[in-house]
Every structure is written in structure tokens, then in C-alpha cells.
Amino acid sequence: MSPSLQSTAAGPQGAPGLAPERPSAASGQVSDAPLLETRALTVRAAGRSLVDGLAWRVHAGERWCVIGRNGAGKSLVLRALAGLSVPERSGEVLWQGRAQQAWPVGAAAAVRALMPQQAQDRFALTVERTLALSEVVALAHVRRTDELMAELDIAGLAARRADQLSGGERQRVALAQCAVQGAALMLLDEPVSFQDPAHQQIVGRWLARAAPAGERAWVASAHDPSWIGRVATHVLALFGDGRWQAGPVDEILCTPVLEQTYGCAWRSVEGAWIPA
């Protein structure tokens, strides 16, 4: 799938405030509005600017990873994109061309889903029940809940309670929860941070198929450039001081941007990225 179908939202060197007005040549008959669009989105916390003037579009069929060092603001930006409260924000977020505040709560659930980094489960329900409660849109794209559970390797956990799961299992349940909601846009806060290498592959393969063109997209924060290179089509890099850069995966996953993002040297060995 050629990433060049999509306009990139990189201001020159990620200069804030430079909106990329290069609308994509609609591939096929995609609904014209992007699933997600930000206009001059600025998120600040504790007096520090995390992202400044983010002008960015996510179209159906795209798989975005958000990178940035710890504390760079990935989680807060995802929260803001989902419509949850963040300490300080300005600018606009649009879902399918309509400002997020203008969406009724119920309708918004069909438009975007968020997998938070930490699930709150003081009243732990069973996995099966949790997933049943998370269904919003009937899963028209074939995927029945039990198939999804098999794909994410949580099929055996249906009767377990959330507080009886390991960190990795719980994370995959949270991903399944987000998926069964059936929203067109999935926002995933660190979907693989607790996964062992085998399950990183399983989740990665699932994610690589989870954004069919013209239907869905996802945005996930993640850390491992090698994994990202296999799974994502696009990357949004947050440099932690408000500057950002967005574009197709092979434009962003390069030594200069990675070094600017993480503040350490990188080299690429046969498609794998290794920090020096």
C-alpha cells in the first residue's frame, strides 16, 4: 500500500502552526472528511507545551504510530484526541469533519474509541462481560467477539476477571475492548508495552489488518521503531517541547528524526532499529 496516497502533515522541521493544505486525492470513494483532523491543536501540562499547533489528518486506511520519549505527552494528546479532559488545550479536533464537541456523547462512541494505558477496575468484571458491555456498533466487518478473542489470543480468558489477568493479558483484553466498540477510529495508548515478543507479533499482525482502506484507522503510541516499521503506515513524532513532525513511516523513521525524538543515536540494521 503506497503511503504517498496520503498527504503528510509535516510542517518543515515540524514548525508549529504551518497547516498542510494538501488534501489527499481521494483514493477510491473514501468519505471526503478525514476520520480525525486537528487544527492548531495545542496541549500543555504543568506549564510545558507538549504539542504546539498540531495540524494533522488521519484518513481511513491509515495506521499511525505516535512516538516520543517518556513524558513527551503521547497519552495526553491521545486523551485530547478522544475528547477526554486534559489540563490545558486549545485548537480544534474534528472527527469525520465535525468538531468533537458537536458530537452527542452516544454518537461519538461510534466514531472514536480509546484504549487507555491503565484500565480502572476496582469492580472487576469478567472478560466476557467487559467485552459485551463495550460493544457499541454492531461489528459489521465480520469480526465476532469470539473471533477477535482468538485473534488476540485471549480466547481462553472469557470467564476470568480483569483483576486475575497478567499485565500483558489485560492489555490485550483492553485492545479487544477498544476493538469491539466498533468505532471507525481507534486511539490506542501503548497497545504492546507489556507484550512478550511473540505477542508483540500477534498484536502487530492484528493491528496491520485493523485499518482497512476506506473504513477505519488507528493511532497508537508505541516505542520500538522496528515494530512500528512493520505495523504502521504513518508516524507522528512528538519532540517533547511542542515541536512535532508527521508523515509516512519511511520519512519519519530515519536517523535524524529518531535522534531528535529520543535524544540518542540510532542505526538501522536490516530493517531493525537499534539505539546506540
Binding site: 478522544a82 475528547g83 477526554l84 479532559s85 456523547v105 452516544g106 454518537a107 461519538a108 462512541a109 461510534a110 472514536r112 474509541a113 480509546l114 487507555p116 484500565a119 480502572q120 477496575d121 476496582r122 469492580f123 472487576a124 468484571l125 469478567t126 466476557e128 462481560r129 467487559t130 459485551a132 458491555l133 463495550s134 460493544e135 457499541v136 467477539t145 469470539d146 478473542m149 482468538a150 485473534e151 488476540l152 489470543d153 480466547a155 481462553g156 472469557a158 466498540q181 500477534i202 499482525r205 492484528w206
Partner: protein, 326 residues
């Protein structure tokens, strides 16, 4: 791809139609137990078996006990969900102390006790509502704030109640104290309690799925399209009204509200609908049983039912917890 793992286990069909057997059996058993306790409470007591006595004295009292028990158990369930804290109960948030202050004020002014109590609970509820406006709108970290606010309100009302006790004329003091501990001896039938409990259960049933989603977390529920703020407001209003009704009837009776829903949850019942039905039935049974004991133990005299229940119920609950039921 991953299907080749051979891990495909047949999974139960999506749970919406799954009001399965164990739930029905549980409800039936608890209903049976409640009916048994009610029958016992009607038939036993000083004065023995006397039709006249049963109809004019015991029946109203048993009905009052059932109503109050249901209401308190439901209020506990509602508040535990509202605060996302299994330890919440009507006392934590100052509802019942507020009602006590109202009742004491009524006693001092010579007004009807129940009017004072209902007004007091409502005032406490509204005060909390007003103070908690920002917290109710906010996300998951709201509940510790809400509990702290409620605890502060409870201490203020408690202090006021203590101060007012000093002012109560001596001949009424005993009544006032009995009432503060919780007492059904003066309770008259008022089917209001039972009706209130029925309405509360119906509401919980209607909102069952939304409330279950609230248990996933306020943010999670909101993301799933639930109007979290309105839901919490409704929970608070229902719980306040329930506590007001209960306290107006019988004074402040503790323990039921904390223990009933929590006990079922520990026993593995996690659905709001089932919890609501079970809580109302077992709350009623618990209070009818405790009241029966309160009447029987030192026969012509009566003990305050709240004390009796806590005395027997708390050790039972501790045993239940210690057994490690998860």
C-alpha cells in the same frame, strides 16, 4: 493467521441474552428466604399467635422493616457504583447524619419527625450535589474527592446532631437517642418505603447496562457513549431519596447499606440488574430478621435494631471475608 494456533475455544454467545440459570436460582432462593423471614417475623413475638395482633401491630412493623432494609441496601449499591468504591454507604456521604439533624430539629420544634428527617437527608444530598458539581463532571479521580466531601459533610452534621442532643428536653432524650441508633418500634406501616424501593429497583433495572458500564470507569463509560454526568446525578438523587425515606421511618440504621450489595459482589454477582434485585430482597430479609431478634431476645423489652444487626452481622461478614471468598 493467528487462527492456526488452535486455541479457538467455543465462547458463550454475546451476553445480552444471558440471564442464565444461576442468577435466576439465586434470586429465587433469596426471595424464598425473604418470604420465610417475613412469615417468622409475623408469627413470632410477645403476645404469641393472635390474628388481631398480627394485622394491626406486627404486619406494619414487618413491612416497615422490609421497606427500610430494601431502601438502605439499594442506596448502598447505588452509592458504591457512584463512588466506584466498594466501601461507600449512606453514612459515608452524610445522608443519614443529615437526616438525623433534621429529625432532631423536628423533635425540638415539635414538628413531625419524618418531615424533618426527609428534609435533612435531602438537604445533605443537595449540599453534596452542590459541592460535588465539579467532581461529578470530572473523570475517574472524582470519587476520592466525593468521598472526602461526604465524610466532611457527615462530620459537620454529626457535630450538629450532638450539639442538638444537648438541647433536647430530658423527657424526649431517650426517644431521640433510640432514633439516632435506629429503631423500628415506632415505625408505622407506610407503604411508601416499599413503593420507593420498587421504583428504585425498576430504575436500576432500566439503567442496568449503563451502570455496568460506569463500573468500567467514568472515562470508559463516557467513551462508550454513556451520559456519565446525568447518570451520576440520577444515582445521587435516588440514593438520597432512598436514605431520606428510610431514615424518616426508622432512624439511622447502619450496616445494611454497606454490607448487602458488597456481600453479593464478593460472592461473584457483578451485574447491576441482578445486584439490584438481590440487594432489595436480602436487605429486606436482613432487617426483618434483625428486628425479629431485637423484639425477641429480651422479650417484653426491645433492643435497637441497628445495634442488634451490627452486633450479629459484622462478625458474620468478617468471617465471610476471612474465609477468602473472592
Amino acid at each position: 493467521m493467528t487462527d492456526t494456533r488452535g486455541m479457538r475455544v467455543p465462547v458463550l454467545p454475546p451476553a445480552s441474552t444471558h440471564s442464565g440459570d444461576p442468577a435466576v436460582v439465586r434470586v429465587a432462593l433469596v426471595a424464598l428466604a425473604a418470604v420465610l423471614v417475613a412469615a417468622l417475623a409475623l408469627c413470632l413475638g410477645s403476645g404469641g399467635w393472635d390474628w388481631q395482633l398480627i394485622v394491626t401491630l406486627r404486619a406494619p412493623r414487618v413491612a416497615a422493616a422490609a421497606g427500610v432494609g430494601s431502601l438502605l441496601a439499594l442506596a448502598g449499591l447505588g452509592l458504591q457504583v457512584l463512588l466506584r468504591n466498594p466501601l461507600a454507604d449512606p453514612y459515608v456521604l452524610g445522608h443519614s447524619t443529615g437526616a438525623s439533624v433534621g429529625a432532631l430539629a423536628a423533635l425540638l420544634l415539635g414538628a413531625q419527625l419524618w418531615i424533618g428527617a426527609a428534609a435533612g437527608a435531602l438537604v445533605a444530598g443537595l449540599a453534596l450535589l452542590w459541592l460535588a458539581r465539579p467532581a461529578l463532571a470530572a473523570s475517574d479521580d472524582a470519587s476520592p474527592r466525593l468521598i472526602l466531601l461526604g465524610a466532611m459533610l457527615a462530620s459537620v452534621f454529626g457535630a450538629i446532631a450532638t450539639l442538638m442532643l444537648v438541647l433536647v428536653p430530658d423527657q424526649r432524650l431517650r426517644g431521640a437517642i433510640f432514633w439516632m441508633v435506629g429503631d423500628l418500634s415506632g415505625a408505622d406501616a407506610s407503604l411508601w418505603n416499599l413503593a420507593g424501593a420498587a421504583v428504585f429497583v425498576a430504575w436500576l433495572w432500566a439503567r442496568g447496562r449503563s451502570i455496568d458500564r460506569l463500573m468500567l470507569g467514568a472515562d470508559a463509560a463516557w467513551l462508550l457513549g454513556e451520559p456519565v454526568r446525568r447518570l451520576r446525578l440520577e444515582l445521587l438523587v435516588f440514593a438520597s431519596l432512598a436514605v431520606g425515606l428510610a431514615v424518616a421511618t426508622s432512624g439511622s440504621i447502619g450496616f445494611v447499606g454497606l454490607v448487602v450489595a458488597q456481600g453479593w459482589r464478593l460472592a461473584g454477582v457483578l451485574r447491576t440488574r441482578e445486584l439490584a434485585v438481590l440487594s432489595t430482597l436480602s436487605g429486606a430479609a436482613l432487617l426483618m430478621g434483625a428486628d425479629l431478634l431485637a423484639r425477641l431476645v429480651v422479650a417484653p423489652m426491645e433492643l435497637p435494631v441497628g445495634a442488634v444487626m451490627a452486633l450479629i452481622g459484622a462478625p458474620c461478614f468478617i468471617w465471610f471475608l476471612a474465609r477468602g471468598v473472592k
